[in-house]
Symmetry: C2
Subunit: 473 residues, 2 copies
């Protein structure tokens, strides 16, 4: 009997072991799914969607975006340079290198390398209100980080200064002119800039045909004796890339869009009355449309306006006017944008900004090395000379590495340089767009790597042809 029991028990035990084995190695179905459920809930769908789109390869020569046109159930690849086709793998031979716009894709690789830190999940209910808790229009957190950024980069004084955000620096240029201009229609302010200059200065100022200010053109051609002058000072200049000072001694608007270590040596922090910065050129996020203006403090002021928010009397009149403009113009900028900018800037500032600014600077200086090498072989074309300066950020004397090449056609008959380049399959921006002579043309050096490689290829071909004395036009 006992033997029989042992036999049964043994068989039962073996059977249990077999069941366990099956359970363990085949899986227990529902239990495994439960134990493998991600800890994310409502955000998981959006996250998976974003990763799926990011994984669309576009052959490394383009990018697909969440809101791209849909084809075959997924967003299409939007191709760089002369690539085309559904996966950007087809190279159109003989197509032109487009170096016209200052489209700053040159930093895209950095943001892709920092994907986890720079992604942001915006919920359906993110900041629906018109206002922040402590400010009607501007994120206090973002204001804080912008001040830290300037401290890290060492390129501007922000202490005791006001900051106002705008939809790209373009809006702030308008706002600044408005704020500084005469309130007396019979004696409007005269708006000036030094040639060559960014076309927006002229076009925007003329846009509203205001009684309060009038566009007068180049500083050189204007007598400034005791007249009401507002001067755009771009430093570094667009397109030359050199650091500049005011020439009129009037009221100034300093456009510092390019005053960052990747483009120019930083001799010291800028300390002017009104300084405009742009995210587009700093981090490459031109599509985000974010800029800001930093207002200096005047030790004494005519304008004593009471305000519950500031006890110190500074140049609040100017600040208030710009704020009013932005408010009336569009009630501040998108809060989604401000959140995204905050994310991006936090990453740019990590480790004192060294990884970010070194990446960006290496991109620009590599491109300039290649550019100068090609142009050194040409007498038909020249580019702007560069002068080394000490840089406080990189703690060394270095050349500028401007965002643009300012090409001059040296042959007498080549007085339309953009046309000459176009015949060589290079699209640049004509000098006259920057209110200079058409003997010059501007080439953008901040586009994608594919665009830059194509530009170098076409330039190399052009210079080779020159050196083989073959006329192209």
């Amino acid at each position: 009997m006992k033997k029989y029991c042992y036999g049964i028990c043994f068989l039962i035990s073996v059977a249990i072991n077999i069941l366990f084995s099956i359970h363990l190695y085949v899986g227990d179905g529902p239990n495994q799914e439960i134990s493998c459920r991600s800890s994310l809930t409502w955000s998981e769908k959006a996250a998976a969607e974003a990763e799926a789109v990011a994984a669309i390869s576009c052959s490394g020569h383009g990018r697909a975006f969440l809101d791209g046109s849909i084809s075959d159930g997924q967003p299409v690849c939007e191709c760089y340079g002369c690539y085309s086709g559904t996966d950007c793998s087809e190279l159109s031979p003989g197509c032109a290198a487009d170096a016209n716009s200052g489209d700053p894709i040159y930093l895209e690789p950095f943001w892709m390398q920092n994907a986890a830190d720079t992604a942001v999940v915006i919920s359906g209910w993110h900041r629906m209100s018109y206002e922040y808790a402590d400010d009607p229009m501007m994120s206090p957190e973002l204001d804080k980080y912008i001040r830290k950024l300037h401290s890290v980069a060492g390129n501007a004084i922000t202490q005791d200064r006001y900051i106002v955000f705008g939809v790209g620096s373009s809006q702030l240029l308008s706002a600044a002119v408005y704020a500084l201009s005469s309130q007396n229609s019979s004696s409007p302010s005269n708006v000036l800039a030094s040639t060559p200059f960014y076309h927006l200065y002229k076009d925007q100022t003329r846009l509203f045909n205001s009684k309060n200010f009038v566009y007068r053109g180049d500083t050189n051609s204007w007598q400034t004796n005791n007249t009401d002058v507002i001067e755009f000072v771009t430093s570094p200049t667009n397109p030359g890339g050199e650091l500049k000072k005011s020439v009129t001694g009037g009221k100034t608007i300093h456009d510092h869009a390019y005053f960052w270590p990747q483009f120019t040596p930083i001799p010291g922090p800028s300390d002017h009355d009104l300084m405009i910065f742009s995210l587009s050129k700093l981090t490459g996020h031109a599509g985000t449309r974010f800029g800001y203006v930093v207002y200096a403090v005047l030790a004494s002021s005519f304008f004593q306006l009471s305000s519950v928010r500031w006890a110190i009397i500074k140049d609040k009149d100017v600040y208030d006017k710009v704020l009013n403009y932005i408010y009336l113009a569009n009630a501040g900028i998108s809060k989604d944008t401000q959140l995204r900018v905050l994310k991006v800037l936090k990453v740019a500032m990590k480790a004192d900004g060294k990884p970010f600014f070194e990446f960006a600077y290496n991109q620009m200086s590599d491109r300039w090395n290649r550019l100068t090498s090609v142009f050194s072989k040409s007498t038909r074309f020249s580019i702007q000379p560069r002068h080394p300066l000490h840089c406080n950020f990189f703690h060394q004397t270095r050349q500028p590495s401007p965002a643009y090449a300012w090409v001059r056609c040296e042959r007498q008959e080549d007085n339309d340089c953009a046309a000459v380049l176009k015949a060589g399959k290079i699209i640049g921006q004509s000098g006259s767009t920057l209110s200079a002579k058409d003997r010059y043309a501007r080439l953008s050096l901040i586009k994608s790597q594919d665009d830059f490689e194509l530009l170098m290829q076409r330039l190399t071909e052009l210079v080779s042809l020159e050196n083989h004395n073959i006329e192209m036009i």
Copy 2:
């Protein structure tokens, strides 16, 4: 010997049973972790961060956001109504109900209920370029969905019309005036609106002190014989909420910010030359700053401008001017914003918009039921009468449910109605802000539920006091 073998085998088998049991119910450590790893990679950190912030409870009387000020390592709760404290659980007794601004938090619950569908993950490299592939400034996908939205809501004709996006409808109001105004400085356009009207019309128009247009005020006080007139037509009106037509017969800018089923019956699709819509009032996303203008087609036109993008000659001149304005003003709106708006609109349009518009309409009509009930007990205060109309969207005759109550103080001595309400701890917008008499005050009915409950409480108290004949002022 055999018996001994059986014994050993049996013991071994039982030992294996025990090991399997331990393995199965305690877990196999590393294997379980591997099988539970989420399939997400770079987006997971951002998703987890967003969910953590969303989970901050704020006692249901406030909201924490990713970019809020940090306290104790996490963003602070930003409280609604009269709630305060770190978790918005403290109610400040006797604090005023703020019904001044049109801050549209009334739809927040809908977006929270649709969290998974409305979240959007924006990568660090999302659309860095200034331009879209097929358009310099505006997302073609978003354009497509806006047209679908109007088709679903049945409130505007978009076929053969142009759409331009702006940073909130406020920017588009400026752009529209600019586009329609005289190019002849000696004969500027006269800008008019019917009282009461949104203060921005006057303030913005005066902002630039342009030679091309001048603000003239109320339509009633203006002789319109053959003069160049630009009229703002708000329909439904702010604050009254009735549908309106042009009175001057001049050029019109129709502000349709409130022309949606939750606020008004939709008798049919609007078909005017220039119609402005705003995301703020439609979906509640005021912080996002997104609006758009729809341009009608004129069958014939003086202005034949060639453009490679449109073969049909319509009123492109107006379109081009607005586009130019937006471009010069700020080079288009943020592409992050456009992506977010696309996400939100797709959800709003699901199932022919029924879930969304029904939710929104129920919110508004419930609030109006309670409001009319309170005011029916008062002779000191009255609100605007409402007139039922047939609604094509809900297929029934229904009352309007405007975003605002337009309160009139009926007693002769109460000629500053906002002050009377303020003494009753209700903050409204004075009639003069809308260029009407101060005998009126505007109360916002589209704020958070907490804000509305507090408003109702204060109104009830006020009417009770009235009915007990206690003077408050």
